[in-house]
């Protein structure tokens, strides 16, 4: 069953067409990895889905309900779609648990005790129950990203968007974040993941999309796209990625 339907999504920055009419259906429980060279529009596509960027044309439909452009509608939409960023974007003036509680308190209007209990559950889920009172400045990159994931999960999102969640991390910290994302995948959560971790995409995604020139150039199962790509550009992208692998 379709959870999210994207039709004709277009985004232009000045004279540059970043997205040229992207169509995409996301079913409940699907895990879609989005690949592409830098500048191919991966992040822009993700950011247009929850209107962090305003698309120039096209429609986004969530659960059969078309999303308008009024701010009040967009605010409600974003409460249903969780997003995790490359740069974490934690709130530095709040502790880890404060970050996770913030949406519950300010947006959902939970009482303090209820928000705290829920936030503790989410922090425990990402393995950071003991860091609840720590400020982001004293957390490692991997811990920050796990707090950011907990912050998104606390809002009970129907869909999770990951925008290169491990690209800003030291290599030895990538694993702990991918482990958390995989555990969410195993729970059957619907997610879209922009990533350069091809191995992770192969093992965790149910579908892989290769973006080029602002359109979906090729898509299919991880095996089809990553092991037997049909299009020449996909092949050369993958070859470049494998150039220095072991």
């Amino acid at each position: 069953m379709t959870l999210l339907r994207v039709e004709g999504l277009t985004k232009r920055y000045g004279a540059t067409d970043v997205l040229r009419g992207v169509d995409l259906d996301v079913d409940h429980g699907e895990r879609i990895a989005i690949l592409g060279a830098s500048g191919s529009g991966k992040s822009t596509l993700l950011r247009c889905l929850n209107f962090m960027e305003m698309p120039d044309a096209g429609t986004v439909t969530l659960d059969g309900q078309a999303i308008g452009r009024r701010e009040s509608e967009l605010v409600k939409l974003r409460q249903r779609i969780g997003m995790v960023f490359q740069q974490f974007n934690l709130f530095p003036h709040m502790t880890a648990i404060g970050n996770v509680m913030e949406g519950l308190r300010t947006v959902r209007r939970f009482g303090k005790a209820k928000a705290r209990a829920r936030a503790e559950t989410e922090l425990a889920r990402v393995g950071l129950a003991d860091k609840a009172e720590t400020y982001p400045a004293h957390l490692s990159g991997g811990q920050k990203q796990r707090v950011a994931i907990a912050r998104a999960l606390a809002m009970d999102p129907e869909l999770l968007l990951f925008d290169e969640p491990t690209s800003a991390l030291d290599p030895e910290l990538v694993g702990e974040v991918l482990t958390v994302i995989r555990s969410l995948a195993e729970e059957g959560r619907t997610m879209l993941l922009v990533t350069h971790e091809l191995g992770f995409a192969y093992h965790v995604a149910t579908r892989v999309i290769f973006l080029a020139d602002g359109t979906i150039h090729e898509q299919g199962t991880p095996d089809e796209v990553l092991k037997r790509p049909r299009k020449e550009r996909t092949q050369s992208f993958l070859a470049r990625h494998k150039e220095f692998s072991l």
Binding site: F85, L90, R151
Partner: protein
């Protein structure tokens, strides 16, 4: 030449009344100036022309005219244009508050602009409205960065309060003038006024250093 502070101490009552007047106008201008400054600063930050243009005109007008002229204008010119008179306190408070609002508006705008775009992303991604993100995420961080600049503003307001003496508002300088003219002791009278200002301001500045250190506990 002999310094004779006895003639000043004899007028302690007058100085106390002056100090009370100074503190009163300081409190009024601090609250009005810094809160109106926030409103104007948000206008300067806004993308909407309807907010940006009036805020910009306000800032440019009050930044580029002297406070003393504004106070005199409000006291002597405004009552001619409008059918009511205005007290010295009101005229001086208006001049100092509007001027402080213009300067602090630029501090607020700069502070808000200095916050990383990612903080807006983080706030909006959990479904916050613009106002919620501003109040809960952006302003608390911006205010922290702005503390030194806003502290300077507060000190400036405190010292600008002496301009109210131009419309005979009873504050420290006005009382100092009075004591000097009655006792022919300008050296002692004005020295006493300067010392009293220092005694008020120095602890205030020390307190703001403490505040800045406390605000840094999340780093």
């Amino acid at each position: 030449m002999r310094w004779d502070f006895a003639s000043v101490f004899d007028n302690t009552d007058a100085l106390l009344v002056g100090a009370a007047g100074t503190l009163r106008i300081f409190a009024i201008c601090l609250v009005l100036g810094l809160s109106l400054g926030l409103v104007v600063g948000l206008g300067r930050y806004a993308r909407s022309r309807w907010a940006y243009v009036p805020a910009t005109i306000f800032v440019e007008f009050f930044r580029n005219t002297p406070v003393l002229v504004q106070i005199l204008w409000f006291y002597f010119a405004l009552p001619i244009l409008l059918p009511f008179s205005i007290s010295p306190l009101a005229a001086a408070s208006l001049g100092i508050s509007l001027n402080s609002a213009a300067f602090s508006a630029e501090i607020y705008r700069g502070g808000i602009q200095s916050i990383d775009r990612g903080q807006w992303d983080g706030a909006r991604a959990i479904g916050m409205s613009w106002a919620q993100a501003m109040r809960r995420i952006i302003l608390p961080q911006a205010l922290k960065r702005m503390t030194p600049a806003l502290t300077n503003r507060a000190i400036e307001i405190f010292k600008m309060s002496t301009l109210a003496s131009a419309v005979a508002y009873v504050e420290l300088l006005q009382q100092g003038k009075l004591i000097a003219s009655l006792n022919f002791n300008p050296i002692e009278a004005y020295t006493a006024v300067a010392v009293i200002f220092f005694v008020f301001l120095w602890p205030l500045v020390q307190f703001t250093y403490l505040l800045e250190r406390r605000l840094r506990r999340d780093e």
